[in-house]
């Protein structure tokens, strides 16, 4: 998952992210951002996420843990 931070930062339209950054605090945060995260997770990690799961992950670190936990 070495590229995770860079990919998430790109989706969130910032240069870099910290693990405790709150997802909903980003300026660009909306349903399109969530869909982009769902697509990234499916493409790069073969993990299917729902919009509710992404929202419940709360932070960048929470999202990373969520994807890790669903990787086989």
């Amino acid at each position: 998952m070495e590229k995770f931070n860079a990919n998430i930062a790109e989706i969130l339209e910032v240069d870099k992210v910290e693990m405790d950054d709150e997802l909903s605090s980003f300026e660009c945060w909306d349903s399109l951002t969530i869909l982009s995260i769902i697509a990234l997770s499916g493409e790069n990690y073969n993990v299917t996420l729902s919009a509710a799961e992404v929202n419940n992950a709360k932070t960048v670190g929470g999202l990373k843990e969520l994807i890790k936990s669903k990787m086989k």
Binding site: D30, S31, L32, I34, L35, G42, S50, N55
Partner: protein, 354 residues
Amino acid sequence: MNLKFYNKSITGILTVLPAKEIKFEDEMENYNFSAAKSLKLKMAMGYNKHRIVEDGVTISDLCIHGLNHLFEKGFLKKEEIDALILVTQSPEYFMPPTSNVIQGKLGLKQDIICMDINQGCAGFEIGLFQAFMLLEQDEINKVVLLNADLLSQKVSKRDRNSNPLIGDAASVTIVKKSEKPNTIFANIKMDGTAFDALIIPAGGFKTPSSSKTAEMVEDAAGNFRSLDNLVMKGDDVFNFVQREVPPMIEQLLEKAKQTKEDVDYYMFHQPNKFMLNKLADKLEIPREKMPSNIVENFGNASGVSIPTAITFNLGEQLTKESSLICLAGFGVGLTWASILMRLEHLSFNEIINY
């Protein structure tokens, strides 16, 4: 479920689009989002303009306009129509079927089968299956397949999830017994446990429309809609399409003993550019073989999106040439279906305005 049909062909496709065109920017103020966010969505999804009927126009208006065009041009004769199949989720009445209404208005013969089918995104495939089966009858030689939907009327103008992508349209497809032998490969699956992934919750017999169902409510993402409006679980639908469609296409090609390269075009349902590009990438199909330009030009008119993609992208070409085409529809139901067939030397393949 794998299906096979023998000795059937499509001889012409006509798409009928409402002339009224609305630009994405003109509706942006209805949405509860900043202009910057909405414009980003426009870029990602390929939204631009869509075709919407004027108030009071119904599906029979579009279908009759299209059929009269074919009668006038000499592409079709009234007495040749042995069956009229109408696939729609915008019927004029709960009873009678709108296909009967169209038969009556056009004065078609009584030796005919009229049939409405309630299907959406896979409506072109389902309609073709029905046409192929009817053509097994000795006395049925020509079937007219109508696909028509006016779902703009059921979408909330304040729903950024659905309003920018929806379009209204109808199509007329002529299906015949083929003069030379052929085999058409197809498959279909359904999952009714996710019946509410795409739904208009009220207005049927279960929840009749009332002042209560007309109340506009804000959802978690900031969209306003009522129970009378179409609602789509965008994330579930996206995941469903990425999960189910690629294996369906692989299986279709395997049964037909064809490779992905053998297929000239992948004419898929047109939900939005984002989803189609992801699908092309996952299937490792060049994006130019899978057009995704219908939503940006006309909007997604449910089962009419594939005929629109064929007439818009391959219009004159298919009247002169022969192409192996893979069709795939996926959505409402949930239903997903695909067909591999050759389209060649069509007598017409065009778009007209209403």
